[in-house]
C-alpha cells in the first residue's frame, strides 16, 4: 500500500502545466480583437460653402440658361426647372444639362458655366436633401467615369495620359499633393440655395 502511494508521489513531481496550448489561446484572443477592431473611416459627401458676402455685395450673376434649378419641398416632391418631376430623373436631367455644349437654347452653354442649384423648404427632411444632392453628384461621377475611361473630356480634350476603369481608380492612383486633373478640367458647380423661411 505504502509502495503504491510512493509511486503516485513520484509521478506528481513530474507534472507541469502544459504551456503548448497557451499560444493557441493567445492567438484566439488576438484574432478576436483583430476582427472586432474597426478603424472606421469617415465617409460623406464633400462640399465647399460659398464665402460670406460682404455688405451690399451681390452674388455673382449666372445666366438663366446655365442655371439648373431643383426645388424639393417638405413632402419630397421635386420641381426641375419649374416642372414637376421625380428624384429618379434628376441624374439624367443634370447630365443632359451639363453636356449640352450650347446645343439646346434652354440648357447650359458649356460644362464649366453650368450651375446646379438645389433649393429646399425649411421643413424638408435632411434625408431627402441628401438623396437629391447624391443624385446630382452621381451625375457628375458618371461623367468623370467616362473621362477616366477614355482619357478625354466630353468636349474632346485629351487630359489624361492613361485610362482607368472608373473615376475611383483614377483618384486612388493620385498622391495627396497631385492635382486631380479630371476635377480641375471638369468641375462641379453645385449651389445650395437658402431655403424660404416663409417670412
Amino acid at each position: 500500500m505504502a509502495g503504491l502511494l510512493d509511486k503516485r508521489r513520484e509521478g506528481r513531481d513530474d507534472v507541469e502545466i502544459p504551456t503548448a496550448s497557451m499560444a493557441d489561446i493567445a492567438f484566439l484572443l488576438l484574432i478576436f480583437f483583430l476582427v472586432t477592431t474597426t478603424i472606421n473611416v469617415d465617409t460623406g459627401i464633400g462640399m465647399t460653402l460659398p464665402p460670406k458676402l460682404q455688405q451690399d455685395q451681390q452674388p455673382p450673376p449666372v445666366k438663366d440658361r446655365n442655371m439648373f434649378k431643383i426645388l424639393v419641398n417638405s413632402q419630397g416632391d421635386v420641381l426641375i426647372e419649374e416642372e414637376p418631376s421625380s428624384l429618379t430623373q434628376v441624374r439624367d436631367r443634370v447630365k443632359e444639362h451639363v453636356l449640352n455644349f450650347g446645343e439646346d437654347a434652354d440648357l447650359s452653354e458649356n460644362p464649366s458655366s453650368a450651375v446646379i442649384s438645389i433649393k429646399t423648404d425649411a421643413q424638408t427632411p435632411y434625408r431627402i436633401y441628401i438623396r437629391t444632392l447624391d443624385e446630382v453628384w452621381m451625375a457628375y461621377r458618371e461623367i468623370w467615369d467616362s473621362i477616366a475611361r477614355s482619357g478625354q473630356t466630353p468636349g474632346g480634350e485629351q487630359i489624361l495620359n492613361q485610362t482607368f476603369p472608373n473615376y475611383q481608380a483614377y483618384r486612388s492612383s493620385l498622391d495627396p499633393e497631385d492635382d486631380n486633373l479630371i476635377r480641375d478640367n471638369f468641375g462641379a458647380n453645385i449651389s445650395i440655395a437658402e431655403p424660404d423661411t416663409g417670412e
Binding site: 504551456t19 503548448a20 497557451m22 499560444a23 489561446i25 493567445a26 492567438f27 484572443l29 488576438l30 480583437f33 483583430l34 472586432t36 477592431t37 473611416v41 469617415d42 465617409t43 460623406g44 459627401i45 464633400g46 462640399m47 465647399t48 460653402l49 460659398p50 464665402p51 460670406k52 429646399t120 423648404d121 425649411a122 421643413q123 424638408t124 427632411p125 435632411y126 434625408r127 436633401y129 441628401i130 438623396r131 444632392l133 447624391d134 453628384w137 452621381m138 457628375y140 461621377r141 495627396p176 445650395i192 437658402e194 431655403p195 423661411t197
Partner: protein, 152 residues
C-alpha cells in the same frame, strides 16, 4: 569513433522549435490591440442616424475633421427636441457656433466640418448651421453619410 559521436548528439538534443516564447509574443500583440482599440471618444447626446448615399468620398486625414452632430436629444427633459452637439457639449445658442468654429479654424486652417445630421432632421437647422459656418469662414464641409445598401 565518428559514428559514435554522431549518435550521441542525436540522442542528446531533440530537434524542434522552442515554443515557450511564442505566447509572450502573441500576448504582446494582443495587449497592443487591446490598448489601441478605442471604443468611443465622446459621448454623443443626440441621435444621429446618418442618411445613405452613393457618391461618397473618404476623409483620409482624420485630424482635419471636426464633427458637428445634429439630431433629436436621446434623453433628458427635452427629449426628442433637435439639438446641436460639437465635441462633447451641446450648443444651446446657435450664434455660438461661429465662435467655436472660428477658434477651431485658427488651430487648424484646413479644417473640415463633418456634419453628422440625423436623417429625419429638418433643413432649417442644417441651413442655420451652414450660415454659421460661413460666418466663421469654415467653408469645407462634409455631409457624413453611410454607403447605400443594396436592399434600399
Amino acid at each position: 569513433m565518428a559514428s559514435d559521436k554522431f549518435q550521441k548528439r542525436s540522442s542528446d538534443s531533440e530537434p524542434g522549435f522552442t515554443t515557450a516564447s511564442l505566447p509572450d509574443i502573441v500576448f504582446m500583440l494582443l495587449i497592443f490591440f487591446m490598448v489601441s482599440t478605442v471604443l468611443r471618444e465622446t459621448e454623443i447626446k443626440v441621435r444621429t442616424q446618418l442618411p445613405s448615399a452613393e457618391a461618397l468620398t473618404k476623409i483620409d486625414q482624420k485630424r482635419l475633421v471636426s464633427k458637428i452632430f445634429i439630431g433629436p436629444l436621446k434623453q433628458g427633459e427635452n427629449k426628442g427636441d433637435t439639438a446641436i452637439q460639437i465635441d462633447d457639449a451641446l450648443v444651446e445658442n446657435r450664434r455660438a457656433i461661429r465662435r467655436i468654429m472660428y477658434n477651431k479654424l485658427q488651430e487648424q486652417p484646413k479644417l473640415i466640418a463633418s456634419l453628422k445630421v440625423d436623417r429625419e432632421s429638418e433643413m432649417e437647422i442644417v441651413n442655420q448651421v451652414q450660415q454659421e459656418l460661413r460666418e466663421a469662414n469654415a467653408l469645407r464641409i462634409n455631409y457624413a453619410s453611410t454607403r447605400e445598401s443594396n436592399a434600399q
